[in-house]
Every structure is written in structure tokens, then in C-alpha cells.
């Protein structure tokens, strides 16, 4: 014991992590690559951001490779090269996300104002100043669509998920297969299907309700698959405990399984809503259109945020495109907040 006390206290180290001093040559190499890039751009006809990026990649990678070859041989140089290529791949993927977010925010911000939430386009045209007219009708339309699509798809999805997890009947394999097949149905096909099945076969005209039908079709596979995952997480002991108490399977599912998975099921619905909120293509065939608020979901055309963006983009005028940016910003905020809510819900579930 005495030896232990006299021992100096040993600190944990991570000798495999390189120290700043060891990183120095790497940083020098990168600086050298910057210099080389600037020089080459200055003296050769290669110009522009692309030339800078390309040359920096070439020089940076070559110099680093040379360094690791000198220090640790050929295999290390290959490794350095592979690492540089992967990092570049990751960086290239990172660029469009940032560009998408940044453009949406910077361009959409211009048209933002309280008026877009209180006015419609009923008496405004694209050439009017941005301070006139708003998105109120489109926002109401989108909310209508979300509610109706959810009301239609929710029972179908959750009951299908329950069939797959609780009954596991003979048709399970088939149903699983079909749900997967359904998740691949392109949105435009869902749209023309509803058109062919309803608008072409009856005297009905496009309306909010009919516009929500293809959205419901697109929502079902997302909600079913997520719900299925959540229900599978409910421990079997809970089910057995219910059945052992003499409950019918129906009672056990309704009072034990579904409540246990509740927050997960909410996540599933939110993800489903996020999936359809921005859908445009099916609405083009089924929604009709209007510039006014339409409170009646069954009669008359409707508008929606993605539809509004589409119209502005198709119009092509400066005013139209600017309004499209503002609408897409509002739509993006809606979708991203749904997405974030679902994530928070999901994470809380996972932690418990």
C-alpha cells in the first residue's frame, strides 16, 4: 500500500492523438498549397472560383501525400490520398445544402412581413409591390391539405402497422412488400391516378379534399413504416403481461401497446406530414386553384404553399419569382420545424 501512496499520480494520455507540434508540417503543407494555387492562378489562364478549388485540391493532396510518403511510406500516402478524396466528397455534398438554405433565407427574407400572413393574392398581381398581397390563402390551403390527408391516412397506416406487428398474419410478407412498393410511387403518378379515378370519372372538379387524396397516398407508407418500427420497440413482456391478465388482444393493444408507443406514433405522423407538406406535382392535377381564401374543402379550387411557389416560378417575372422565394421560405420553416419536432420526440423516446 505504501508504494501506491508514494507513486506519482499517473495521468491518462492519448499518445496516438497528434500534438499541435506534429500537425505543424501538415499545416505548412496546406499553406504551401494555398500559395501554389494563388501563383498558378495568377500566371496561367485558369481563372475563377472553380480554378482555385480545383488547384487547391490538387496541390493540397499532392503535398500531403508527399509528406506522408516521406514519413511513413507508400501505403500511408495512399491512405492520405483516399482521406483527401473522401473529405472533398463530403465537402461537395455540404455545399448545395448550405447554398439551398442560404439562398432561401436571403432571397425569401426580402418579401417577409406581417402582411403575408394577413393578405391573399385576391386583388394583387405579381407586378404589384411586394408589400401588397400575401400567402394567407396558401397557408390555409396547406393546413387544410395536411389535416385532411392526415385524417385519411392515419387510421389506414396505424392499423396496417398494427397488423404487421401485432397479428403478424399470413399476409404480413405481402403487406410489407406492398408498403415498400407504395413508398416508391412517384408523386406525379399519385396525382394523375386521382385525376383518372375521380375527376375523369365523375363530375367533380378539383378541390381541397381531392387534392388531399394523392397526399394521403404518399403519406401512408411513411407513417406505416415509422409506426411499425416504433411498435416493434414495445417490449413483448408488456403484451404478454396484458394477455396474462386475461385481457383480449384488442384490449391489450388498445390499452397497453398503443399508449406505450404513443410518442413514437406522433413522430411517425409528423414525419408523414413533413413528407407531404411540400409536395407540388400531385396538386397540379387535383387542387384546382384560387387566389382567395376558400373555407370549403369540398367545393371550389384551393391554393397551397408549394402550389403558390410553382405558380410564381412558372410566371417567371421578377415579382413572381420573388414571391415564390418568400413562400418557399415559409414552407421550409414549416417543414423544418416539423422535422425538428419529430427528431426531438424521437430522441426523447430513444433516451428513455
Amino acid at each position: 500500500m505504501t508504494t501506491l501512496i508514494t507513486n506519482p499520480r499517473v495521468e491518462p494520455r492519448k499518445p496516438w492523438k497528434s500534438t499541435p507540434k506534429q500537425e505543424l508540417p501538415n499545416i505548412l503543407m496546406l499553406l504551401l498549397a494555398v500559395v501554389a494555387t494563388v501563383v498558378v492562378v495568377a500566371v496561367t489562364p485558369m481563372k475563377g472560383k472553380l480554378a482555385y478549388a480545383f488547384l487547391f485540391f490538387i496541390f493540397g493532396t499532392t503535398f500531403q501525400m508527399a509528406l506522408s510518403w516521406k514519413k511513413r511510406g507508400r501505403a500511408a500516402a495512399t491512405d492520405t490520398f483516399a482521406g483527401a478524396v473522401m473529405m472533398t466528397g463530403g465537402f461537395i455534398v455540404f455545399l448545395p445544402v448550405v447554398s439551398l438554405l442560404w439562398t432561401t433565407i436571403s432571397k425569401g427574407f426580402k418579401g417577409l412581413g406581417l402582411h403575408i400572413f394577413t393578405q391573399t393574392m385576391a386583388s394583387t398581381s405579381y407586378s404589384d409591390p411586394l408589400s401588397k398581397g400575401g400567402l394567407l390563402h396558401a397557408i390555409i390551403g396547406t393546413l387544410y391539405l395536411i389535416v385532411i390527408a392526415t385524417v385519411i391516412s392515419l387510421p389506414l397506416s396505424i392499423l396496417t402497422a398494427l397488423y404487421l406487428t401485432e397479428i403478424k398474419g399470413r399476409a404480413s410478407g405481402l403487406i410489407q412488400f406492398l408498403v415498400q412498393a407504395m413508398s416508391g410511387v412517384p408523386s406525379v403518378v399519385a396525382g394523375v391516378f386521382i385525376y383518372a379515378a375521380i375527376l375523369l370519372s365523375t363530375h367533380l372538379r378539383g378541390s381541397t379534399f381531392i387534392g388531399a387524396l394523392p397526399l394521403a397516398i404518399l403519406m401512408i407508407p411513411t407513417v406505416t413504416r415509422t409506426s411499425q418500427e416504433v411498435l416493434n420497440l414495445v417490449p413483448n413482456e408488456l403484451r404478454e403481461a396484458g394477455l396474462a391478465l386475461g385481457a383480449t388482444q384488442w384490449k391489450a393493444v388498445a390499452t397497453i401497446v398503443v399508449p406505450a408507443a404513443r410518442s413514437g406514433l406522433i413522430t411517425a405522423v409528423i414525419l408523414g406530414v413533413a413528407r407531404i407538406a411540400g409536395e407540388t406535382a400531385p396538386l397540379l392535377f387535383t387542387l384546382g386553384t384560387t387566389d382567395k381564401i376558400n373555407w370549403n374543402p369540398f367545393v371550389g379550387g384551393q391554393n397551397a404553399l408549394p402550389y403558390y411557389v410553382w405558380s410564381g416560378l412558372r410566371d417567371g417575372t421578377e415579382g413572381g419569382v420573388q414571391r415564390a422565394w418568400t413562400a418557399i421560405l415559409v414552407l421550409l420553416i414549416l417543414v423544418l420545424s416539423l422535422f425538428t419536432t419529430a427528431r426531438i420526440f424521437g430522441n426523447r423516446k430513444a433516451k428513455r
Binding site: 473522401m86 412488400f177 412498393a181
Partner: protein, 329 residues
Amino acid sequence: MPVSSTQIQKAPPPAPREITTKPRASDIFFRGVLTTMSMSSLLILTLIGLFLSFRGYQAFKTQGFHFLTAYDWNASTDAGQKDVFGLGAMIIGTLIISTIALLIGVPLSVLTALFLTFYAPERIKRALTTLVDLMASFPSILFGLWGFIVLMPMAEYWAKLIHKYLGWIPVFSVPQPAYTRSPFIAGIVLAIMIIPIVTSVSREIFGQTPLDRIQAAYALGATRWAMIKAVVLPFGASGVVGGAMLGLGRALGETVAVYSVLNIVFKPNWQVLYGFGGNIASMIVQKWGEASLSESKALLAAGFVLFVMTLLVNLGANFIVRRAIKSGK
């Protein structure tokens, strides 16, 4: 009467008793409802197939096989004229654009997935994963708007560069300097749109690489890349293929984003940098507004063709992905 042991030995083995429970009425009802409801997906898919083929039947009947192979699309305006509907150029165009999207998107996704799984420091890993997941939730109309306003001018410049240096390759040649709204640009937009799904499938597969094989490679003095080449890529290859096919399924059916950046012309175009191309989904949207009844039906038939194409690709993809994930476990 006591039974002797010899008798027991002679007796035939007992038949297994069947365990039966008489289900209660509420359970029968419950199971019935669930089973019926779960059939909704079957019903919907069948209805989609039936309605589209039924409504598009006229086009299939009048055009015959030419509907799939011909390149013309003319709706008659006079009563005496015949309609000509040929989807060939659109099918070829769809395949070309999707191929470009895969050629750009899949390598980037695989590199990103490898970077995230084996190279990135924890903080960068979390940030980039979140961003890629976010990208999956962007509405497709946003990609259309962004593609049209932001990407197109840049991509036009890239196209010019490619043409300048690689123009001697036939696919990169252009008859006239018209680079806007080309299959190349549409392909880039689609590539960006499929990156999230291909990345996340690849990442899932790479993450399941058995640790003992990874350690075996490292213990033999492998560098990270040598380990990936020897262990991770052979293990994850089929999963990546499946992920790419899921991406392909998405690319085939994408509508508004492609429509925004593609000049749709009913003529096959192999010169990908040149400013026109074909796409089934976008064509349907483009022609829809002013279509006559017979033309609308031809568009529904086109929808049916698209439905079948994506269905086949997606089922193939799911089959491959599931097999890959299973073999990992």
C-alpha cells in the same frame, strides 16, 4: 388395470396435440378490422395500376407499340387528323438524366458515407449528418427554384468547361452553344436530390461492418484506406447498389424539380450538355394544362409507364437492401 413397461414401449408415439383457443368475438372483430385495413395498400396499388391502364388504354390501343418507341407527340387539332403519341424520347431522356444523377450522386454519397463513418471527427460527423438528413426533407419545388435561379448559371459554366476540354468525346459535344436547360443540369439537380437517401443507406451498411474483421485488418498493419478496401467495400457493395437503386427510383419519378431546369423536346438527345432533353414526369406536367381529352388519356398512359418503371426499380432496390442488411446481421 396397470400398464406394464413393455406395453408402453410397443405403443405408437403419441400424435402431437393441437393447441387451439377459441378466440373471443372482440378479437375476431379486431383481427378482421386490422386485416382489412392492411389490405388498403394492396387496394391502392391495384387501383393505381387499373385506373391508369384503363384510362390510358385508348392511347395504347391507337398507338400500339409505337407508344413506347416513337419520338413524336402530336395531338390532332382537326377531326380528320390522327393523334401521334410516342413516349420514346421521354423514356430515353428519363433514363439519361437518371444515369447522370447516379453517376454524380452515388460516388459523392459513398465518399460522404465513408468519410462520416471512418474519417470525420465526432463534431463534424454530427453536423454533416444532420445537414444531409435536412436535405432529405427539402420540398422538391425548392430544388426546382434553386436549380433554376442559382445552379443553372453555374452549371452552364461547368458545361462550357467540360465541352471545351472534353468536347472530343461524342456525349460532350454540342452542335450549337446552347447550354441552358440541358440533361446535364437536370442530372445535377437530381443528383443532389438523391444524395441523402443513397448516403444514409450506405452509411447504415458501412456502420454494420463486423468489428472483428476491421480489427483483423488493422492488426495486420493496414492503414485506414487499406482496411476499407479489404473489408468495408466488399461487405457494403451490395448495400450501396441497393441504395443507388432506391435513388434511381426517386430520380425516375421526380417531377417539378426537373421540369424547372429542363427544356423538354420530343427528340432523343444523347449530347448531355446540349440544351434539351426528355422526362416522362415533367412532360406530363407540361402537356397537362392544354391537353385535349385524347391527349390527357395518353398522358395517363405515360403515367402508367412511369408507375411500372419505378415500381420495378424500387422492388429490386428493397430486395437488395434488405438482403444486404440481413447478411450483415
